[in-house]
Symmetry: C2
Subunit: 466 residues, 2 copies
């Protein structure tokens, strides 16, 4: 009996899938946004998908896999873009999507199982007038555990910063990959051990997240003659301390007209657009603010739209962050994108400078966020892709201009992040996953402690070649 056959026998009673086509489908995420990851990861697949329904089942799977040295890669809804949930060494794909209960809502906090859909949590919280502080543009499909393990921020980050910031995650329950898996409760400083670690050093089974006041956010699109005007308007709006918004995204022409097909009647091909969510009670103030910008034209506001439009148009939140890219890919599958930080206080100047430098090859898309207490912008520009070499060059030029790239064309934690070892996460992996069985190949510091991040070499996980 092979190890896998023995594992299946041992896990009898759990929901196990071994149909290769389904397993392959459940081994993928949105890695194909990147032509580089598409080439590298296309053939990646696990051997089995185990869908767990309780923490006890998670423990049972981990214990069995530990005993047989079988890798375990955890998956929520698979909406990540960097192969976070892809099992580079095969083995078990641990599907948490059915551990999806919202457990408790209190003032300022929600407790939920890790596989709960973000929009479902928001819907439950809304009954108490509350909602999550931030969510990705994929909130209707993404799980809260996947967001914490593989994401960094999104809609709402203009008010609250990112998941990495103290206070944006309250508590996590984490199961370790040991002979006898332990269940740890983490809060405060400990949260940094496992958040944004792609499930490489523990399995998040339950989360407690802060809530904030819920509003019926008004979707707004404002048009500008130039991307620079849209960027400056967005920056000024984001710095209005009393004018409550949840999302501010300047997107350069011609992307809005070309990609936002269902909003097209409101758009012009030569207009850059700011996509904004505004609190309903702030609309008078917002209109007054817009009045100070002669070049700002309010193209669409959902509070004044027809019943028909309100029902049928996608929400503005699904025009922003990586939904901008996704809508672009539907129109033109050859594009790709970057993730750039334009550091405060030169963020607008740099964003505009780089947009001008690349012209139509790299088209601007900014997302305003709070970052270490300041309003700055993150960018997800659309790239008219030609070759891997040129894509690397474009990223290098951004970094030469002082704009760090969070590389979405790499599948490792470090290359997609700070390009250095995260000692806290590494130390916790040594403790919680001593055999290195959790999501192999994603943490370079574990796989190859001597890797030289300054070399600009891409890390290639040996397992991928085998």
């Amino acid at each position: 009996m092979t190890d896998l056959a023995a594992l299946k026998a041992e896990l009898e009673g759990l929901a196990i899938e071994d149909n290769p086509q389904i397993v392959r489908q459940k081994s993928r995420d949105f890695f194909w946004y990147s032509p580089i990851l598409k080439r590298q990861l296309e053939e990646v697949t696990g051997d089995l998908v185990v869908t767990v329904r309780s923490e006890a089942e998670v423990i049972r799977v981990l214990k069995a896999c530990y005993a047989r040295d079988i890798p375990v890669t955890t998956r929520g809804a698979g909406t990540g873009n960097y192969g976070q949930a892809m099992p580079l060494s095969g083995g078990v794909v641990l599907n948490l999507a059915e551990m999806n209960q919202v457990l408790e809502i209190s003032t300022g906090a929600v407790r939920a199982e890790a596989g709960a859909i973000i929009a479902t949590i928001d819907e439950a919280a809304r009954k108490s007038g509350q909602e999550l502080r931030m969510h990705p543009s994929t909130s209707r499909t993404a799980t809260i555990g996947g967001f914490i393990a593989g994401g960094s921020g999104g809609i709402g980050s203009i008010n609250w910063g990112g998941l990495r910031d103290f206070g944006n995650i309250l508590k996590l329950r984490v199961v370790t990959m040991e002979e006898e898996p332990r269940v740890l409760e983490m809060s405060g400083e400990d949260l940094h051990k496992v958040s944004h670690a792609y499930g490489t050093n523990g399995i998040i089974t339950e989360v407690e997240m802060p809530l904030t006041a819920a509003y019926d956010w008004v979707d707004v699109l404002v048009g500008f003659d130039s991307f620079a005007d849209a960027a400056r308007f967005g920056d000024a709006l984001a710095n209005q301390d009393g004018l409550l918004t949840k999302e501010i995204a300047p997107i350069a022409a011609p992307l809005p007209y070309d990609y936002f097909l269902r909003h097209r009647k409101y758009l012009h091909s030569n207009q850059s657009v700011c996509a904004i969510l505004v609190a309903p009670f702030a609309m008078d103030a917002f209109a007054a603010f817009c009045g100070r910008y002669a070049d700002a034209t309010v193209l669409y506001r959902s509070d004044r739209a027809s019943e028909e439009d309100r029902k049928t148009l996608p929400p503005v939140s699904e025009l922003t962050w990586n939904h901008t890219t996704l809508r672009g890919l539907r129109v033109d599958p050859t594009i790709t994108y970057l993730q750039v930080l334009y550091p405060f206080p030169d963020h607008i100047r740099k964003a505009v400078q780089l947009a001008e430098l690349f012209g139509d090859e790299v088209v601007g898309h900014l997302e305003f966020v709070r970052f270490d207490g300041k309003v700055t912008c993150f960018g997800l520009p659309v790239v008219r892709y030609t070759t891997e070499e040129r894509l690397e060059e474009i990223m290098r030029i951004h970094e030469e201009h002082g704009c760090p790239i969070f590389n979405p064309h790499r599948y490792t934690l470090e290359e997609g992040g700070m390009k250095q070892t995260d000692e806290v996460q590494l130390a916790f992996k040594k403790e919680a996953d001593p055999k290195g069985l959790l999501n192999p190949g994603k943490m370079i510091a574990w796989e190859n402690p001597d890797f030289d991040f300054s070399s600009r070499q891409t890390y290639l996980f040996p397992g991928l070649a085998s």
Copy 2:
């Protein structure tokens, strides 16, 4: 029959007070925080106090006073510190304290009469899980209309900026001082006409203010060996985007020990203190954040205090803003204070530099706020007062160091503010108070259009000398 006697006759049925002692008491505010204003305004008194109970009564009073050229100075609870509500030319003190109804609470907004007590509004809003965004330390006595007409921000401004910012006031109803008084509804850009205008160009009768999520804020005092350490800690905390606080005030030794008598058992005379309000669900994150500062000692947190302490100690909000000064004045009536802006990004360096420059003569007290989108600090340092000349010199030295003074030792709008004409407020006064009968002597631009703000001369209202 004198004009006043005729007025009284005409206003029959309204609540009119003409007992000179009571009128004098109702003609005063907390101007005596300033030794200069104390000298200048000590003898100021109105002739009558009219306590109105409805907008119709306000209109009736204004119409009658307009016809007889009798000045009208509006008053809420009289908690201002600059003589905002003091009738420099006598006449009618229009008391709005009994127009105090909370009218309507909706998601994100509250509508109330101008004389409603701020704490009463918060109590009503709390039933829906909401509270006002910001309030002065005097919220238990101050009226919302007085805050808008005479204040600028306070507890909560660390999240929302000041009242001047778009979105922090939603709507105002304003009655003009004309032959036929008009009732105007103002929102958006118009709000700047009458907010922080001391009632010089219209009477605010009703307000609509934004609400935010209400929490049972935890009172925290953190001790430091030096004021500089407390200031740096406060700045770092204020820049934590995910760690929800409502108030952060570093106060230099020996003020906390000397002035916060009921908290004294928690304090040491050589410790500087950060007085903080933290959201209850953020306490784990707050403790983790404190753990990163070796020199930070948590001295008091209300969520772990005894029942007795929680009942009897004043809330931390009543240790901050001008309650710090008030507690100081109770211990040592010879002190006074300043109002300083330490501009971003050099705010900490400048605050520490000025504290060191003056030593025990000017003792540091900072209040972190958002100002044009950045975290910076406002200061209300305690001054060991000697002479008016030295006080002026201390203020000059602050301005020479690039730290603007919002002078709390002047009774005019301009001298206490931006030291320039506010053209919007002036234009509206010409329209809404053509005879100049509203709160005379407070708007220099109206009284003396040729006044030279660059001269550093103090404006002296002629009416005061008469």
